[in-house]
């Protein structure tokens, strides 16, 4: 354990998870179509972040989940002056992302 090895072989992984993730890819595709069909401007930082993460999925690095989470993170180091609200949006605010 801890070496990244999964007891199941590739065929077993596909048998267990292929249909579930086929459906999830379709959900993402349909969401992008839905977003494009909707009215309004296209400058929301959440969509920019999501498109950055999709680039990671197309790569072959062994830590895609970690990289996706890093791209969706505030990478600044100092505490903020005060909490503006209790919730989180799921994507870094402008000026706090890895690519800013």
């Amino acid at each position: 354990m801890g070496d990244g090895v999964i007891p199941a072989d590739k065929k077993r992984v596909l048998d267990l998870y292929f249909l579930e993730h086929r459906a999830k890819v379709l959900d993402v595709a349909a969401f992008l179509d839905r977003y494009d069909r909707a009215a309004g401007d296209d400058h929301d930082p959440r969509m920019l972040a999501l498109r950055k993460t999709i680039e990671v999925l197309q790569g072959d690095t062994p830590d895609r989940a970690k990289r996706v989470l890093e791209l969706l993170s505030d990478v600044t180091a100092e505490p903020i002056e005060s909490a503006p609200a209790k919730g989180a949006t799921g994507a870094p605010e402008p000026g706090t992302a890895e690519w800013d």
């Binding site: 354990m1 801890g2 070496d3 090895v5 267990l16 830590d63 505030d74 505490p79 503006p84 209790k86």
Partner: protein
């Protein structure tokens, strides 16, 4: 298979959930103090909440053969008013020696603000002065990575608490490494929409190993699943993990960490 759910908010769950958890193999739970979905209007509201955690919930759990334990604190979502938060902190010592009280938690950060950090430091001080275990909430989503780093720095800066007596909860792929490398314990929370799924938790175990790590449901009043721990057990088994590995993650590891407190017990001769 028997299991411990070391993080679940049973004040927000029905008695039916206790029954289903017992049927699924749950023998013990620990319940951290948390945000009720609204800000309480006075510190006395927390006194009532701490009574509920220390007097009422243990009885509800016992009716289904489940040992109930709790953690006390003011949570980071209500820490933005430091004067109010300090009044709540003053109440906590009244309850620390009640049966089943394991320590201070879930303290931490929410939006990584200066006020939240001030109250986190005050509660680290409380835990150190009373020599109690600590359960830490890490922020959600985009705030998690930064918040986790700020929290680990605050505990190290204080310097009085052994990292082996601190559980950093809600870790994901981008934070589990810094938590374990620092000598802390790591908790993976199994949530349907945020945090980890049972599948990703199994992935993380395969990547980092089985030492100083556990799984929990953090079931509360939001979208959550009080049976997510046994569902993760099933997920690991269907991938081919050994029974003893699954039991270590879902029973042995939480028992090892929690047994550092004399207030922890699973009953039945342990």
């Amino acid at each position: 298979m028997r299991y411990i759910d070391p993080h679940i908010h049973m004040v927000s769950r029905t008695t039916d959930d206790y029954e289903r958890m017992a049927l699924a193999g749950c023998v013990a739970i620990t319940e951290p103090a948390f945000w009720a979905g609204f800000d309480r209007s006075s510190p006395e509201g927390f006194r009532d909440y701490f009574r509920q955690l220390t007097e009422i919930e243990p009885k509800r759990a016992a009716a289904y053969g489940i040992r109930h334990h709790c953690w006390l604190c003011i949570n980071p979502k209500e820490a933005e008013d430091p004067a109010f938060a300090r009044e709540v902190i003053e109440i906590i010592p009244e309850f620390l020696d009640k049966p089943g009280v394991l320590g201070i938690g879930e303290i931490g950060l929410n939006k990584n603000s200066k006020n939240e950090l001030e109250i986190l430091e005050a509660q680290i001080d409380l835990a150190a002065k009373h020599d109690r275990l600590v359960l830490v909430h890490t922020p959600h989503l985009e705030d998690k990575l930064k918040g986790t780093k700020l929290i680990l720095d605050a505990i190290r800066r204080d310097g009085r608490i052994d990292p082996g007596r601190v559980l950093i909860d809600h870790v994901e792929e981008h934070t589990v490494g810094i938590v374990l490398d620092g000598g802390f314990w790591a908790g993976m929370t199994l949530y349907p929409e945020t945090k980890c799924t049972p599948q990703r938790a199994a992935d993380i175990i395969e990547m980092v190993g089985t030492e100083r790590i556990w799984i929990n449901s953090a079931g509360d009043w939001g979208p959550s699943d009080p049976l997510s721990v046994p569902k993760c057990q099933r997920e690991m088994l269907r991938r081919g993990h050994k029974l003893e590995t699954v039991e270590q993650i879902s029973f042995g590891n939480p028992r090892a960490f929690l047994s550092q407190s004399p207030a922890f017990s699973i009953g039945g001769g342990e």
